[in-house]
């Protein structure tokens, strides 16, 4: 059952992520991105990390996707980026980058996230929050820059509109 759920969620996540990149209509792309984020949240739930899953929904769909949609609608599809050429090349680059990132992540993760608090199923939420604030305070702050990045991206797109 868990395997099936995982497979379904993973398929939805990956398929909608591809759609988010490839969709002609930017609005569909943004909506697909939202569905992909939902799939990731589902994967978090599957890992018993419901707290992370809930905030994945709130931050990524509630804020990031909304900002992207907002900008896309203000800019209008005709002013969006034209479909990229050299798709094969970009696919290759994407594969390479993800391989590199994956390798780097697997190499560093054991070192980076070693700690006394091994949060498994039934983990105490209070303990998790204390750990997050005490031990991972700085990484947490850096993660919160995601929203700033989204705002900057949205502003850039909206500004390009005025020039054009």
């Amino acid at each position: 059952m868990t395997d099936l759920t995982f497979l379904a969620l993973a398929t939805v996540t990956v398929a909608s992520a591809i759609l988010a990149l490839e969709a002609r209509d930017l609005v569909y792309g943004a909506a697909a991105l939202g569905i992909s984020f939902l799939g990731i949240a589902g994967l978090f739930f599957l890992l018993d990390a419901s707290y992370t899953g809930v905030f994945q929904i709130a931050v990524y769909i509630g804020a990031v996707v909304v900002l992207i949609l907002f900008t896309v609608m203000l800019v209008g599809p005709q002013l969006g980026e034209p479909p990229l050429e050299l798709k094969r090349l970009s696919l290759l680059v994407a594969l390479l980058i993800s391989l590199l990132l994956g390798t780097a992540g697997s190499l560093t993760s054991a070192a980076a996230f070693r700690g006394p608090d091994n949060c498994s199923a039934g983990c105490d939420l209070i303990r998790l929050s204390t750990t997050l604030i005490n031990q991972y305070g700085v990484p947490l702050e850096f993660l919160s820059l995601v929203l700033a990045a989204a705002v900057i991206g949205a502003l850039t797109l909206a500004k390009a509109d005025r020039k054009g």
């Binding site: 609005v27 939202g34 707290y51 905030f55 709130a58 769909i61 509630g62 907002f70 609608m73």
Partner: protein, 333 residues
């Protein structure tokens, strides 16, 4: 191994299935939604010294909601030319699913709760953040001016109320030390209702949740006298029902959440069963929110944004400070 038929019977008669389908699940949501449409029209009419719905049943037109549903169902389904069919149809359907999901998290009585999630409160609020996105998609997909303006207004409005809404609920979490809605109710069983220590938080919560529900005085995305129902303008009969449904479900869910957070949920003297207590409190809140509609004029968008980012945000931070002093000042907690 039992045969499939007996398995199906077992599933249909199981408590879990009954909770999802009958109460507090889908059927009761539909009936209460129809009831609340009548109730709101009757209440608003009474406030304005009118009579309101009268003919749909022997007793004060109480079946008006059902009559409306039947009428809307038999209207022709017209999708506007140039509309994006996928989003135009999917947005109200998804909104309905979201509304039903919200009610799944509420503890109606001890043990009567579809999903007792560890992180019930943020889950409720996180599911809610999806709804302005759907409003925007619905407004955009109609390919028409007023719906699009309404959709954009919904997003602007979200930036104004979202942060104060989360922060006002944070006070409750700080005091109770749990995100679980049942846990919050149990805390109030031992320590009294939270409306007294969290009066400011409760006030902020009800203001921001009125904005979230797009109800007067914050119904900017709809604003029938300005932009003709805004994002709902192009919806034909049956879909309009799907658009209106989530509005009432959200009202019900928010009132239920308010009574869970601040009024002790299903707690009360044992003369009346817990579930009745719960509904009494919820209906009081619903009446209050409905009376806002007949009392206050609509705010402008810039007023809402300014107040959201100045007054509401400041007050919600003040509320967090109050909660901090309550937690630190009472070591027994």
């Amino acid at each position: 191994m039992p045969d499939p038929i007996s398995q199906i019977i077992q599933l249909v008669t199981s408590t879990y299935f009954l909770e999802i389908v009958v109460f507090p699940g889908l059927i009761s949501i539909a009936i209460l939604g129809a009831f609340f449409t009548w109730f709101e029209r009757k209440l608003t009419a009474r406030v304005q010294l009118r009579i309101g719905p009268l003919y749909s049943s022997p007793v004060g037109g109480i079946l008006q909601g059902f009559a409306d549903i039947i009428k809307l169902l038999f209207k022709e389904l017209i999708i506007p030319e140039g509309a994006d069919r996928f989003f135009f149809i999917m947005s109200p359907v998804t909104a309905l699913i979201i509304g039903a999901a919200l009610l799944g998290l509420i503890p109606f009585a001890p043990g009567v709760q579809i999903a007792n999630v560890d992180v019930g409160l943020p889950a409720f609020l996180a599911i809610l953040t999806l709804s302005p996105t759907l409003v925007l998609l619905a407004g955009w997909s109609a390919n028409s001016k007023f719906p699009f303006i309404g959709g954009l207004r919904a997003l602007f409005q979200q930036t104004a109320y979202e942060i104060p809404l989360w922060l006002s609920a944070l006070g409750v979490v700080m005091i109770t030390g749990t995100l679980n809605l049942t846990g919050i109710v149990q805390f109030q069983q031992n320590n009294g209702w939270l409306i007294l220590p969290q009066a400011l938080g409760a006030l902020l919560f009800i203001v921001t949740s009125t904005a979230e529900m797009e109800r007067l005085p914050f119904d900017l995305p709809e604003a029938e006298s300005e932009i003709m129902m805004g994002w709902q303008a192009e919806y034909p009969g049956p879909l309009f029902m799907l658009v209106q449904g989530p509005a009432f479900i959200k009202l019900y869910a928010f009132a239920a959440l308010f009574s869970t957070l601040y009024l002790g949920g299903y707690l009360g003297p044992a003369i009346i069963p817990p579930i009745v207590w719960f509904f009494l409190k919820t209906i009081v809140i619903i009446v209050a929110i409905m009376l806002f509609r007949s009392t206050f004029p609509r705010v402008r968008l810039d007023q809402l944004l300014r107040q959201g980012w100045t007054t509401l945000l400041t007050l919600s931070i003040v509320n967090i400070v109050i909660a901090y002093f309550i937690v630190v000042g009472v070591p027994a907690i």
